[in-house]
Amino acid sequence: MLSVEHVRKSFGNLTAVRDISFKIERGATFGLLGPNGAGKTTTMRMILGILTPDAGSMTWDGARIDGKMRRRFGYLPEERGLYGKMKVREQIAYFGRLHGLVEPEVSKRADYWIEHLRLGDYASRPTGELSKGNQQKVQVACSAVHEPELLVLDEPFSGLDPVNADMLLGTLKDLRSRGTTLVLSSHQMWQLEDLCTEFTIISNGENRASGTLAQLRAECPTRVLRVEPASGAVRGVLDRVPGARAMGNENGAVDYEVAVATPLPEILRELVAADAITRFESIEPSLHDIYIRATGA
């Protein structure tokens, strides 16, 4: 289990991380969410030992994370970079060796990733000659070639076209199935919602919400009520619900934000009495909704 407890990090007068804590079970896929400047990258860099926290602690399976342990971790940074003149196979193998792999294992793993990511045609070419998408595949291979226990991915989907994004999603699911614990940050909520089992939302260097999607939804104080048709009678009923707030129309339906505790059967009865209701749906908040609410964006 990765445990991050009350970590803090400042750069001069700027405090990037004030107080962030979370726990991630082994094998879990964890989404670290937050707006730009929230402290996601700094937190990830601290987990990987690139930065040293000013305060707080981080442990992996109960032991303090040290250099030796970090060689069993992997990292895909937001800013991608590779040795342009180094050949693809050499590059992947080099990062494997940096993480402690030796021959013949390192060559075997490099070949596996080349095949898995369909880089066979480029294996003997300098990485700098590859397209951006293929370079990103090489970067993924470099970060995962040693089959890390923990793989940290900072904005892994940024800049990827849909095909490569799907490829990466498949690769991450594959790693997860083999037991790798994944920590991801992304602005593409739909991808994280699909992939991650747990989330922490941070803003201004502090925790704002944590848990599984179900837990986050349960903590959310409102729901969206979608009713069709969008008639005056329907609006009249919904406007009388205490605390309800009109959110707009969607394909002939009206959306109202109502408190979780709102008695829906009662409202439904009133609506049916007022008009011919063709749709009545209580929509669970999406990760995006939860994120917007938690960060106050």
């Binding site: 990987l48 930065l51 060689r71 971790f73 940074p77 970079g81 080099y94 060796r97 970067q139």
Partner: protein, 410 residues
């Protein structure tokens, strides 16, 4: 595999095939070959243009004059011709540089030189060589007797010097001069290679991935060790080529300046001591470690490779100063400035080596200098390691001095 070894071997393999390294080796070999072979190739032309003469005038004078001049000039012919020659005339006498016409007036010797090139006229040599003839004409004493009486045997013996003869001292100075330049070029070029490598990794953004994979200290140490290995390979290739091209000759044949330069490589084996070899290796390693570590730390602070020039300027300046002091040290190895700077890190690898090569340096001074440099390597490595670790992750505005100071203290 150990991360340091991985970085070291990868860096060596990457750099040894790189264009700058291969170009450096090739250019160095070419320069050395040129230095050694050019004087020999041009030698004939130079000799004919400057040393070869035709001696003109009455046979009584030219025969006696030829005897006196032959130690400094090649006498292509003697002739009774006394008027200005044509260029074809000089060419026909093995491209002689001049017609030197001897005459007599008022019991004194007169000399007229018709030179192919006015810069040929070395009045002092001609005057010195022909002085016995001039005196013989005015005193009626024999030329041989005068020439003999003008040759005063002079014995030069050094005080507090490691050399037993002038020739050995001159050879040692030439060797020290050559090795000093090797030291300077090799330390500077290879430290700059480390700097470029660090800057490339930072600007290409691969640094973050590397530092997440391997301890920054191992990364930096691997890089510097690889550069040191390559520097040794480079220098060894230059020295081996230099040695074989010079044919292992040990001393200048004719005593001329151009030839002494070409004899330098061969003379190394004959005149260099074990202490010189030890000092060269030790001060190369220490100087290289100090500079390359500093260069790497400074390189980690930049955001664009274009900024490399501005960061390396403050580092190159003391090295250039060290070279000048070391050149001065070859002539004045015990001057207070030279002795003082032979204990100052970064400068002392050059100045102390120069002192050791040309003089007898007390062993305690060598020991203290080495200890100071070893300590300097240690402290520079700690400071540079801290700057490197922070610098590699620092993008945007360059850090202020106060931030750097805080980093060093942290």
């Amino acid at each position: 595999m150990n991360a340091f070894i991985t970085v070291l071997s990868a860096e060596i393999m990457r750099r040894i095939r790189s264009r700058p390294f291969l170009l450096g080796v090739a250019l160095g070999i070419f320069a050395i070959a040129l230095m050694i072979k050019a004087p020999a190739l041009l030698g004939g032309a130079l000799t004919h243009a400057s040393d070869a003469i035709v001696l003109g005038g009455p046979p009584a004078l030219t025969s006696r004059g030829a005897e006196l001049l032959k130690k400094d000039f090649e006498i292509e012919a003697t002739t009774t011709k006394t008027d200005a020659p044509t260029m074809q005339y000089l060419d026909s006498h093995n491209k002689a540089g001049a017609l030197v016409v001897l005459g007599a007036a008022n019991r004194r010797l007169t000399v007229t030189v018709y030179a192919r090139n006015l810069s040929f006229v070395n009045r002092k040599t001609l005057k010195t060589d022909l002085m016995p003839l001039n005196l013989a004409m005015s005193t009626s004493a024999s030329v041989a007797a005068i020439d003999s009486s003008m040759n005063i045997p002079i014995v030069v013996q050094g005080v507090d010097t490691k050399f037993t003869s002038e020739q050995a001292s001159d050879a040692a100075q030439a060797i020290a001069y050559t090795l000093l330049f090797f030291l300077y070029i090799s330390i500077l070029i290879n430290s700059q290679l480390v700097m470029t490598s660090v800057a490339e990794e930072k600007t290409s953004r691969i640094a973050e991935l590397l530092i997440a994979s391997v301890n920054p200290t191992s990364l930096l140490a691997g890089k510097i060790a690889a550069a040191a290995v390559l520097a040794v390979i480079q220098m060894a290739s230059w020295l081996v080529v230099g040695y074989f091209l010079s044919g292992g000759t040990s001393a200048p044949a004719h005593g001329s300046d151009v030839q002494s330069a070409s004899a330098g490589f061969g003379a190394i084996t004959a005149n260099i001591s074990q202490l010189d070899i030890f000092a060269f290796i030790a001060y190369f390693v220490l100087g290289f470690l100090q500079l390359s570590t500093l260069f790497a730390a400074f390189a980690s602070m930049i955001n664009r490779t274009e900024d490399l020039g501005s960061v390396q300027m403050p580092l190159v300046m003391p090295v250039v100063a060290a070279l000048f002091i070391a050149i001065y040290a070859l002539g004045f190895p015990n001057s207070p400035l030279v002795v003082a700077t032979s204990f100052i890190p970064i400068i002392s690898p050059f100045t102390m080596f120069a002192r050791i090569a040309v003089s007898v340096v007390p062993l305690w001074q060598i020991a203290v200098s080495l200890l100071i440099n070893i300590a300097a390597v240690y402290f520079i490595a700690i400071a540079a390691g801290k700057i490197y670790r922070v610098g590699m992750m620092l993008y945007g505005r360059p850090p202020k001095l106060s931030q750097m100071w805080a980093t060093l203290r942290g």
